[in-house]
Symmetry: C2
Subunit: 172 residues, 2 copies
Amino acid sequence: MSVASIDSPPAASPYLHLFRRYLKQQGLPVTQQREVVADVVFSTTEHLSVEEIEARLKERGERIGKATIYRTMEILVRSGLVEDHDFGDGFKRYEHLFGGQPVHDHLVCTHCRKVTEFRSPELLRIQDVVSREHGFAPTRHRLEIHGLCAECQEQGVTVAYNGLTCPAWDVA
Amino acid sequence: MSVASIDSPPAASPYLHLFRRYLKQQGLPVTQQREVVADVVFSTTEHLSVEEIEARLKERGERIGKATIYRTMEILVRSGLVEDHDFGDGFKRYEHLFGGQPVHDHLVCTHCRKVTEFRSPELLRIQDVVSREHGFAPTRHRLEIHGLCAECQEQGVTVAYNGLTCPAWDVA
DNA sequence: GTAATTGCAAAGGATTTGCAACAGT
DNA sequence: ACTGTTGCAAATCCTTTGCAATTAC
């Protein structure tokens, strides 16, 4: 535990200045709140929800209203520095683009809700081929594979299937 | 316009009996409301929201509470006959599995919100390969490609890019 | 008859918005 | 100084839930 950490500055993320630049570019004020919110998001590779961002702000001793967090996240997404996701747990989650691979997708465990990232160059090819076939101009994609992660399987978790036992084939 | 249509039954979808069977299998009552709601969903290949389902029920002269629609959709999804989607417009949308290809994904136009389906067998391969690499047991996937559809492009629509003009590369 | 569903209205949870006080340029 | 942001609380949106009356089996 280094003594320096006691009163050193809050270790601003190296990506923060990109956000500052964006704000200036757009003629928007660079406020303390926006900087701190952005720094929280840039300081982790997790997929944070607004509530979680609020919690981390509290840990830092910052008292920032939820509304401001929502408003800042909107700008961050528009800036292209952050992406929003909906993993189906009821709220949006945010992820900055400097974590791992620039383009990646997600494995979502339906039991423990863990999210793992993966990269698939072939997928980009599929995106191009399919788009061309439909005259579609793609800007981004989103692929989620839902299922059970390795840990949950080891712990013997199984998915209860409540669907029809005898599927659609006998449409008599 | 055929005279027969005037007092013929409401042309029950051929898939309705699968839902009836599911209800019986589960020991659940087969109610009129459940049948009509399911029939509305089975009668189109569109991706309907609860509000839209309610509207079509009104058109048919049926007066069914929203709560019942929500509760029925829950059962339909659990039965495996219907899938729910979140295309990012604020509410869940539902789609039965007898429309086109059994497994398919979606092109979502960010301008006119039109959703086009496509099929990609390679994608299933990717799902398998990636899952195996991570010891993941996949149950389903969801791929959406967002962008501009052909019609919107013809009409000269372009996506306004509001992101950083000079991207991330110069992280000094 | 019994147990489950229905429908209404009220509750719920995430997100948004209105507005007076305030901070950034 | 002027314009835009902040923060609170109230409003909004979709969705869920409680409960008395009703329906399926």
